[in-house]
């Protein structure tokens, strides 16, 4: 049983605030992902939880204990490091047994635990080897086996997959997710890879400049970014942001972009008084080859066939957009296309602050996400 609570945690390196007042609650047995670009403070926050960094301000709770002043070994945590940190002077067996030996467990119990951990990670054949005789992927497995062998309440993972090659990462991602679902540990997983975050996390805390800018389940974070940073950071390609104006004339409201205008559906009252940015994902834009009412004209700059879909870069007035289209649509460069910006998929942002403006229409997507998760 271990829920985790950060209360106004602050960590400075000299004058630089690596973690700048973070409040976060992680539920028992939850898989929480800390996501953000390098230097956003996610690893520092994790190390504060591990006890490898002392917080300068605020409290850290693990379970019902105040862990702020506890040493790492007193926190009942286990950690997988980015570099794996497999002890080079010990065999794999001794690496996995290390934590159990430090806890002075009985020999038989150690042996059983090492065996079962090794089996979970499929490294039973490697127990007699040294770290230098292992590949990167095998070392990674040893690091995970070592962390789960002690059955700690809390499992911390610092970019565990970032040193693997792409194919192995894909394989390990699914395997790790399955493995962790069957463990009882609360997991905090740090990554800068938004796909890892979306695919693995129960919830994602998106961090930027030492703060948590959005906390939510993966679909919520993807569908309803809290600001332009989250929209731009999550998703490949990033969310498109276009300068826009909305004018209301009786029952109809019109959105005007630099490249054209179209009619909006739904509630727009919240938008009044803001300089607006229109945010929309590449897959939420429909492409037609002929003009019609409600479509915006654009010119194709380049087409990138990606197999499952084609990625278009188009110019619409003064804006450049990324649009995903079906793999059988091949508009020529320089040809004209007409874009359908699905009104219910549009997310409005304040142009000056970058923060999302909730109009009420996006609640639908969030609720769906909650139901399906």
């Amino acid at each position: 049983m271990a829920e985790i609570r950060f209360e106004a945690v602050r960590k400075n390196f000299g004058k630089f605030a690596a973690v700048d007042g973070v409040d976060l609650e992680v539920r028992d047995k939850e898989f929480m992902v800390l996501l953000g670009p390098s230097g956003c403070g996610k690893t520092t926050l994790l190390r504060c939880l591990a006890g490898l960094e002392r917080v300068d301000d605020g409290r850290v709770f693990i379970g019902d204990r105040d862990a702020t002043d506890l040493a790492p070994r007193q926190r009942r945590i286990a950690m997988v490091f980015q570099s794996y940190a497999v002890f080079p002077h010990m065999k794999v067996y001794d690496n996995i047994a290390f934590g159990l030996r430090m806890q002075k467990e009985k020999k038989a119990k150690i042996e059983a635990r090492v065996q079962s951990s090794a089996e979970l990670l499929h490294i039973e054949e490697l127990l007699d080897r040294y770290s230098s005789q292992l590949s990167g992927g095998q070392r990674q497995r040893v690091a995970v086996a070592r962390a789960i062998a002690t059955k700690a309440d809390v499992l911390l993972m610092d970019e565990p997959l970032s040193n693997l090659d792409a194919l192995l990462r894909l394989e390990m991602r699914a395997e790790l997710k399955t493995l962790l679902q069957n463990l009882d540990a609360t997991t905090i997983y740090v990554t800068h890879d938004q796909i890892e975050a979306l695919s693995m996390g129960d919830r994602i805390a998106v961090m930027n400049k030492g703060r948590i800018v959005q906390l939510g389940n993966p679909l919520e974070v993807y569908d309803n970014p809290a600001d332009t940073f989250v929209g731009g950071f999550i998703g490949n390609p990033p969310m498109n942001f276009l300068e826009a104006e909305v004018s209301t004339n009786g029952a109809t409201s019109i959105a005007t972009l630099s490249g054209g205008s179209f009619e909006l559906a739904g509630e727009v009252a919240a938008l009044a008084g803001h300089n607006l940015l229109l945010g929309i994902r590449a897959e939420s834009i429909g492409v037609e080859t002929a003009g019609a009412d409600g479509l915006v004209q654009a010119k194709v700059i380049v087409l990138e066939p990606l197999g499952s879909h084609n990625l278009l870069t188009v110019r619409c007035g003064e804006d450049t957009l990324k649009v995903s289209v079906q793999p059988n649509l091949f508009p020529l460069a320089d040809s004209d296309v007409w874009l359908r910006l699905e009104p219910e998929r549009i997310r409005w942002m304040d142009r000056d602050t970058g923060v999302a403006i909730r109009t009420g229409t996006e609640l639908f997507a969030t609720e769906t996400a909650v139901v399906t998760s």
Binding site: A50, L52, S83, A85, F87, P88, M102, T150
Partner: protein, 272 residues
């Protein structure tokens, strides 16, 4: 074109390496065969490059000479004390220099290096006077203390570079697995640093074993081997000098032969 040129280059490199090796090895070889020859063979001209009659006559006479076994024993004592104290102080200091960033870390490092710039000859007289005043002149401990002063700075620098080469994440991992700071050092950093620390122990040994200047001015009756040899050099026969030379050479050579792998891996590494 490229291939023959490469071959010529490689040949030249081998020739150069052989020449350097011969330059270093020739005296060592001559001293060694002389030390294990009979008196007649030592004085014989021209020299035999291949030992004809191996004999321990020269050796025995040397070891039976007055003061030699005592000075050998004293040399061993001095070296042992120097190694133990240097490692006991130097290893933790090197660890601290490698792991913690404290305000004076860089000046401290510079100060360590600059101690090597001090010619011993300048501090020799004040040192001898101080020793006389304190009353530790002509003792094994006094000589050991001087040797510690020479070798400690380098021990700190070398062990610092050894520890800097060991990822701190390994110790952090040990701490998350139940170690405290000290046991993480003992179970992880120290075993991994062992080859490097052993190499610097050897370096300390060789320095102390062969150090003659401080030993000669700080001792009078209780001389170490190099000081003893130096004192007797111009009044002793050739056989004595050759056998003495062999005793100065041999331990260092044997030791370096066994740890050469560690010396290369350790000192080929760039310090932080």
């Amino acid at each position: 074109m490229a291939l023959p040129r490469l071959r010529i280059g490689r040949t030249l490199a081998y020739v150069a390496a052989l020449a350097v090796s011969a330059f270093v090895l020739a005296p060592i070889y001559l001293i060694t065969i002389a030390a294990f020859s009979s008196f007649d063979a030592v004085y014989e001209y021209p020299k035999n490059l291949v030992p004809k009659d191996a004999s321990i006559e020269t050796m025995r006479v040397f070891l039976d000479s007055e003061g030699i076994t005592d000075s050998l024993r004293r040399s061993a004592y001095v070296a042992a004390i120097t190694i133990v104290v240097c490692l006991a102080i130097g290893t933790p200091a090197g660890y601290a220099l490698a792991r913690f960033s404290f305000r004076a870390a860089n000046p401290f490092q510079l100060a360590l290096v600059s101690t090597r710039a001090f010619p011993l000859i300048i501090i020799a007289i004040p040192l001898a006077v101080t020793y006389l005043r304190v009353g530790i002149d002509d003792t094994v401990y006094g000589v050991a203390m001087a040797h510690i002063a020479f070798t400690l700075p380098l021990t700190v620098l070398v062990t610092a570079s050894v520890f800097a080469g060991i990822s701190y994440e390994l110790e952090e991992a040990a701490m998350t697995l139940g170690c405290n700071r000290l046991s993480a050092f003992r179970r992880i950093a120290l075993p991994l640093a062992f080859p490097g620390v052993a190499a610097s122990a050897i370096f300390i040994f060789v320095t102390s074993w062969n150090e003659v200047f401080a030993a000669a001015i700080l001792t009078f009756r209780n001389r170490t081997l190099p000081a003893q040899l130096l004192a007797a050099l111009d009044t002793s026969p050739l056989t004595y000098r050759l056998a003495g030379g062999f005793f100065l050479l041999a331990p260092a050579l044997v030791v370096i032969f066994f740890i050469r792998k560690y010396l290369l891996t350790t000192w080929g590494r760039v310090a932080r």
